[in-house]
Every structure is written in structure tokens, then in C-alpha cells.
Subunit: 189 residues, 2 copies
DNA sequence: CCGCTCATGTAACAGGTTACATGATTTA
DNA sequence: TAAATCATGTAACCTGTTACATGAGCGG
């Protein structure tokens, strides 16, 4: 039951509609959690029923009416409780690692293609996170911002997202190099 | 349906029993995938039914009879197909990041406690992965091993596990430092 | 006029977690 | 003698994914 808390955490700093939430939790961003639109709409319904968030309808002229949600006192208490409770470790679960685990038994070219694709995806996220960080800290240095800024939570999680994707990219590139070298050694033989 | 392929990948290099598989996929190791024992036993049953693995009973004197599984030709073909297919990106989904996202609104001490715990967990995994890597490469250097060793797949995935946990540890420590400094700045005021 | 964005859902299914169950042997 | 290890499962439940559905306005 952590999607619940992820949604609460996302709504702490600003009122958002279900649709805006789906943008924050989608493929491109998702710097601290990932979820499908369907999950989010369902979770918002549940959260409102449980009194942890409240929505207010905002009628728009050209767009459909949307509902902006904010966290209630009960919601904040729930998050506080969640934070104090012990955290279960998170595990790697990645198709690409499974493929590399089988590297000695499957087609090298196919593997390299997958690794190349992933490296590019990681690079795109690195660029995106870099931009987000710059926007959040404004004209301050990172050190300055982390010392005195308010709302450093999103900045800190984004930093983890950034280094995670840098790790992905570097590992993909390294793995490609290793596989290519072995390919050449094998070809010469 | 990637647990399926994770199990196949794990059985490529050695015959393992269900129980031995659970050890490879459990909390301590899980360098390329994580799964519960119950999932693994269920998956093995399905894989055998589908002809992708075969088991042979090994009667033991003091221990219960176990079944050692190995991948069939059909199983290898399945893995080959899986490798060639496009890989969906993997996403972070971590309770701890949710807690840090809410950092500006929840109790700092509770957060620091969680971060400290996670840093220790990450360090334990770093030590474990370091040992595993040394065992796999024997007395060769890493470069030497990656160039000429056979079975580099598990080594490469373990390398990713290692840097992932180093990233976790470093980020936890950095985050703790930031939170502590802000705490002090706030206390002085 | 075609596809994208805004805006919100339902339903079916696949995948993962937790609780429960059994029973012998070895180690502390 | 209590706990851990070996060895294997079933059942109920919770979570996440995929497919489907609707409809208006905006940009190329």
C-alpha cells in the first residue's frame, strides 16, 4: 500500500488534478514512483473516500471540468505514520538484467541492441532530470539550495533518479564494450 | 511474464533445485531479479508443464529428496526470443523515496532513522556483491576476466547490483547530511 | 481532417505478497 | 531443547497492467 503514500506525497506541495498526477507519475518523470493513470484515478477515489484527500471542482471554459485534490490533516497524519514505520528494502526487477544474465547463451547482437536502446532512454531521463533540478533550484547553487531552500524533498528524490539513470547508462555502455571486445576476440580466432 | 525468463536465466549455468533457486532469488542475493519462494515453486511447475525446464529427482540420505532442474532446448529458444524482443524500461518504486519526497512535511528524525537503516542494508549488499565478484573472477583481474572468462553474464549483472547499492548508500548518506545541517540551522535560529 | 492534449473512468487479467502447512535433520 | 536449514507446496489476497470507452478542443 505505498502508491497511496506516493500520491499523498505528490499532493503535499501543490493541488493537482488526476490528470496532472498521471503526468507526474508517467514514463517521462516518475522520479520517485511510477504508476499508470488507471491506478491513480482509482487511488484518488479511495483516498477521498477515506478522507485523506479532498477535491474541489474547477470549472473551465474550453476544457472539461477538473477536480483539484489536496491532502487533509488525516492524510498528513497517515504520511507521518508511514514515514516512521520501517521501510522494506527495494529490489531490482529489470528485464534487461535478466537478458544480460543469460549473455553467455543468447545472441550477442540482439543483446547489444537492447543495451543501446536502454542507454539512450537513460540519457533522455538524465537530461530531463538535469532540467528539473535546475528549475527547482533557480539561480542558486545546489549546496546553497539544499541548505536554505524550502521544498527540498522533490529535489532530493530527483537527485537519486539522476544518479540511478547515470548508473544505468554507464553500465549499459560498459556492458556493450565488453560484449563487443569478446565478439572481436572470437572472430579473430 | 519475466519471472519465467529470470528462472530460465538462473538455470542456464547450473542445475538447481527449487530450494536452491529460492536462495538465489532471496533478499540477500537477487542481483538480477527478486522473487518469493512461493513464486518460484509455482513458476517451476509451470515451466516444466510447458517443457521449458526438466527436473530429475535426486534422492539424498539425510535430506528430503530434491529435484534438480535444467533448461531444455525449447527453454533456451524461449530465452533467445525474449532477449530479441524490446525491453520495457524499469522504474524506481521505493518506499524510501516516497518518504524523502515528503521530507519538508514530516518528522526529520524519523526520516533520518529510515535513511540510516537503508544505508546499512546497502553496505551489507555491497560487501556481499564484492565477495561474489571476487569468487567469480578468481585470481584474475576484472578486465582479464571480462575479456576471456566464460560465464560473464552473472558477473555483469552483479556489477550493476553493486553500483546500484553504492548509489543507494551514497544518496542516503548525502540526504542525512543535508537534513542534519538544516536541522542545526533551524535550531540556531 | 487527423492526431494530440485534456479529463476521467470501468473491467478483465496478470503478477506479486502474506499466511498457512508439513516434517526431518543439523547446529548452537 | 530451541532455532535454523533443507525441501515443497496451497490458498487468499493485494497490487499492477492492458484493453476498452467517451468526448471536446486545439494545432498542423
Amino acid at each position: 500500500m505505498a502508491l497511496r503514500h506516493a500520491v499523498l506525497a505528490a499532493l503535499l506541495d501543490e493541488e493537482l488534478s488526476g490528470y496532472q498526477l498521471t503526468k507526474a507519475f508517467d514514463v517521462g518523470v516518475a522520479n520517485f514512483w511510477h504508476a499508470q493513470p488507471q491506478q491513480l484515478y482509482a487511488e484518488l477515489t479511495r483516498l477521498e473516500k477515506d478522507g485523506l484527500v479532498e477535491g474541489r471542482a474547477v470549472v473551465q471554459e474550453t476544457r472539461p471540468t477538473k477536480r483539484l485534490f489536496h491532502v487533509t490533516h488525516a492524510g498528513l497524519a497517515e504520511l507521518e505514520e508511514f514515514t516512521a514505520a520501517s521501510t522494506k528494502p527495494s529490489f531490482i526487477r529489470d528485464d534487461l538484467l535478466v537478458k544480460v544474465q543469460a549473455a553467455d547463451h543468447v545472441d550477442t547482437e540482439a543483446l547489444i541492441a537492447q543495451l543501446t536502446e536502454r542507454a539512450a532512454f537513460a540519457q533522455a531521463k538524465i537530461d530531463l532530470f538535469g532540467k528539473l533540478l535546475r528549475t527547482m533550484r533557480g539561480d542558486r547553487t545546489e549546496e546553497e539550495f539544499l541548505r536554505h531552500g524550502h521544498r527540498i524533498g522533490p529535489y532530493l528524490t530527483c537527485l537519486r533518479g539522476l544518479t540511478f539513470e547515470q548508473g544505468n547508462r554507464d553500465w549499459c555502455e560498459h556492458t556493450i564494450t565488453v560484449l563487443r571486445e569478446r565478439q572481436q576476440a572470437h572472430a579473430r580466432h
